[in-house]
């Protein structure tokens, strides 16, 4: 491909692509992201390619795309243009799909989604999981091949860039973003336009733009999905941002645990360079900009802006004081604008459609959409993009289909280790930066982990502190030592050795860490503890006074034993115990050896006679 040298040439290419692509009548899209591949989509793709070749019809195309989001039913395919959605496929299903659907246009009912009542729903848009979603950022995920820039261009990619470079001043771009009300999607919710403006006005050169793709929140994978499904939207956003700020050099800081995202991003950047969207004199406008990729090293704290910049500079990821902001003194002490993946990916939409279109979605203070990874004990796990202002109940029950195995909802964790657990009474809370803060949690980057009656809230608090103990950089005393002491207390409580004063001490250390820690890892670390104490106080008391874990999670407080009346001696449990802790002969009553038992609970779930009990 020859470099595109002008806006006209870009449109010419788009026309040419239209000529080619409009001939593709049927597109079978197989989602190929980390999650889908783990579920087996690669095999489906291979089989499809093999079988389609035999059909010998140029109007049918099989493509690898980003994720359609409904991970629960992976591996799945979507057949365009009708958007027929086949789920939980195995390679053996492929032949039937070709014979019936592709050749004759029939629906293979056994492969479709079925709702609660067993009703068949063959089309993607009609599935409850998608109904309440609004896909701006994810609109092309599932439709384009992320490794092929021409797919993106065909669907209108790089028009926003072209619009900006051909007729908008940097100030106008900033004004557009400011008016749209876009706020940072990385957690803090800082107004993006304002950040750009500060950075534009800051003195110093060079200036840098950085994309934060560190996505360290455990249980969150929005950014991975955006990059794996539509990397060019992020790149286009960054180029526009760089133009607005006056920067010629950008970085994407990407988590090392994401090899596929890294690969696709690399390909996308190379292609963007080849086509002339990156490099010198972009589209003949005189503006130059390029992007370098930096791999993270596996440290959650490196998502923090100053730690991230230290890491790019080749240092240990230690935060430093931000009394002078990074828009003034950031990377290499130069003005730097850092935004999250999703923030960048929103930019092309705003420029293409105008700020009004964006601002009409959402609430007063939070505009646009937000992507969440809906996971945990919810029926329909996956990636959802919803308009701001939707309630938690709608997300969890309408989109998510409620709790797995119809158990009871207990809480939903948002904001990762910096956020908190939101209890049932706030389920009707609209999702909005400020409203989530009010109840002690935060939007965070978009992890939404649903918890049911089998989740112990003290254990959740302990879990996050344990996570943070491993992830704290260890530089400042409040965070390093504070987390350590809090964790010791929580460990004691989960072992049944807690004292009632412990709760007060936890609160005291929390308050102290919020005030005295150096960076936001430390100042927000107490949130999971504080919210669980506030909303699930009884559970703490239960552990401390009754020495009981009602959810049956805290190992030191539970025991598995065989109900001698129910045991039939079927040996199933003994065969399945991973540590051979169950003894007993066939047809004789079995016994659990307490010394060996690791309390994994397998016997408890596997026994057909409910003869294993927990107390």
């Amino acid at each position: 491909m020859k470099k595109i040298n002008s806006f006209e040439e870009l449109e010419k290419l788009r026309k040419k692509l239209k000529g080619i692509k409009d001939k593709e009548k049927i597109i079978i899209s197989v989602c190929m992201e980390t999650g889908c591949i783990a579920a087996g989509s690669e095999e489906i793709y291979r089989e499809l390619r093999k079988e389609i070749k035999k059909v010998k019809n140029k109007e049918i195309k099989v493509i690898k795309t980003g994720c359609h989001g409904f991970s629960e039913v992976d591996p799945a395919i979507v057949i365009y243009p009708e958007k027929i959605f086949y789920i939980r496929l195995s390679p053996n299903d492929v032949k039937e799909i070709i014979e019936k659907t592709i050749k004759k246009g029939e629906i293979v009912e056994r492969l479709t989604y079925k709702d609660e009542k067993g009703q068949i729903i063959p089309y993607l848009d009609q599935i409850p999981f998608y109904k309440k979603q609004k896909r701006l950022v994810l609109s092309l995920n599932g439709l384009i091949d992320p490794e092929n820039i021409e797919d993106y261009i065909y669907y209108g990619g790089y028009t926003a860039l072209s619009k900006v470079l051909s007729g908008m001043s940097p100030e106008e771009v900033i004004e557009e973003i400011k008016k749209s009300g876009l706020r940072g999607r990385g957690g803090g919710g800082f107004p993006t336009g304002k950040k750009w403006e500060y950075c534009r006005k800051a003195e110093g050169y060079p200036k840098y733009v950085i994309c934060n793709a560190d996505e360290g929140d455990p249980g969150a994978f929005m950014d991975r999905s955006v990059i794996e499904g539509n990397p060019h939207s992020v790149i286009e956003g960054m180029i526009i941002g760089a133009y607005a700020i006056g920067s010629n050099e950008g970085y994407v800081y990407i988590r090392h645990e994401y090899p596929l995202a890294l690969k696709r991003l690399k390909i996308a950047i190379e292609q963007a360079r080849e086509y002339g969207f990156l490099g010198e004199n972009i589209l003949g406008s005189g503006f130059s900009f390029d992007i370098d990729i930096v791999r993270g090293g596996g440290a959650f704290v490196c998502g923090e802006s100053t730690a991230l910049m230290a890491s790019i500079e080749g240092k240990v990821g230690e935060p430093r004081a931000k009394y002078i902001h990074t828009v003034e003194k950031g990377l290499y002490e130069k003005p730097t604008c850092l935004n999250n993946v999703e923030t960048w990916a929103n930019v092309p939409f705003i420029i293409n459609n105008g700020w009004e279109k964006f601002a009409e979605i959402g609430t007063d203070t939070s505009k646009g959409t937000k992507i969440f990874s809906l996971v945990g004990k919810v029926k329909n796990t996956g990636l959802v993009e919803v308009p701001m202002g939707i309630t938690l109940r709608e997300i969890i029950f309408d989109i998510g289909g409620g709790i797995k195995e119809n158990k009871k909802f207990k809480g939903v964790q948002t904001g990762g280790p910096s956020g908190g657990v939101i209890p049932e009474k706030y389920l009707d809370l609209p999702v909005d930066f400020d409203r989530l803060n009010e109840v002690g949690s935060m939007m965070g980057s978009g992890g939404m982990i649903v918890m049911d009656e089998d989740t112990c809230m003290v254990d959740v608090a302990r879990y996050f502190l344990n996570f943070l103990k491993e992830e704290s950089c260890g530089k400042c005393v409040p965070c390093r030592e504070g987390i350590n002491q809090m964790l010791e207390i929580l460990n004691r409580i989960t072992q049944g050795k807690g004292k009632k004063e412990d709760i007060e001490i936890l609160k005291e250390i929390s308050d102290f860490m919020q005030k005295a820690s150096l960076c936001a890892l430390g100042t927000t670390a107490p949130n999971p503890v504080l919210t669980t104490i506030t909303y699930f106080y009884d559970e703490y008391i239960n552990h401390i006074e009754q020495k009981k874990c009602s959810a049956g999670v805290c190992k030191d407080l539970i025991e598995y034993f065989v109900n001698t009346e129910k045991c039939t001696g079927c040996t199933l449990c003994a065969k399945n115990c991973p540590v051979n802790a169950i003894e007993g002969e066939r047809k004789k009553i079995h016994k659990i050896n307490k010394e060996k038992c690791i309390k994994c609970g397998i016997c408890f779930t596997i026994c057909k006679f409910n003869a294993i009990e927990r107390k």
């Binding site: 430093r320 004081a321 009394y323 103990k469 260890g474 530089k475 409040p478 030592e481 002491q485 005295a516």
Partner: protein, 257 residues
Amino acid sequence: MKSVEIIIDGIKKIVPKRITILKIAQDVGIEIPTLCYHSAIEPYGACRLCIVEIERNGRKRYVTACNFPVEDEIKIETNNENVVKIRKLILELLIAKVGYKGKVKEYAEKYEVEPRFGIGNDDCILCGLCVNVCKEIIGVSAISFSQRGIERKVSSPFEKEPTNCIGCGACSFVCPVDAIKVEDIKNERIIKKINAKLELEKCKICQKPFIPKKLIEYIKNKLGANVLLDIFLICNECKGKNYVDKLLPFSLTGGKK
């Protein structure tokens, strides 16, 4: 506007912009406790003991005095109840780590800290002064922090003998809890904490081994000299007898970067 008016503990003062609160406090004679600060080294902001409360436009927040640059009109309280509460907890946590040692002991007594989390026995509070003095002032970077979080510690690379350590002892000199002991045994200098072992040169006058050979080499290189002035080669005791008892200012990289 190159200067601003601030109020510190009720005292009004006009100060140059971007001066730190700690410097202002020192000027007006207010004492703020510090553990990780040294006037010759870039502030590190790790111990948080120097925390103070500031008020700007009616909003209060806590900042560390050693590295907070004053930009506009603020009111600073360096020792109110909230601040003291934070400092006490910092000290309590440090006692849980290292027990009553050096400056921690001094401040713990001053702030009447009652330890609830036990009395620890580590040697180091991870203030970073040793690491930073070695890097910024000496220009050697023989030691660094390793690991992270609660596992963090000061160490030499691979916890082996640091090949570039010149044995100057600056790390030991700045340590607020005396965690780094320098021992001269016969003709060797041993700094156990950082696994350093250095051969000593003898004093030109009394023949007692007293200065690491590597340090002499290092100074020679820095000064670009083939031979050194005798002042470097004569031990302190003999110097006291023969020369004016005065050390050269000990900064080989020209001080703070």
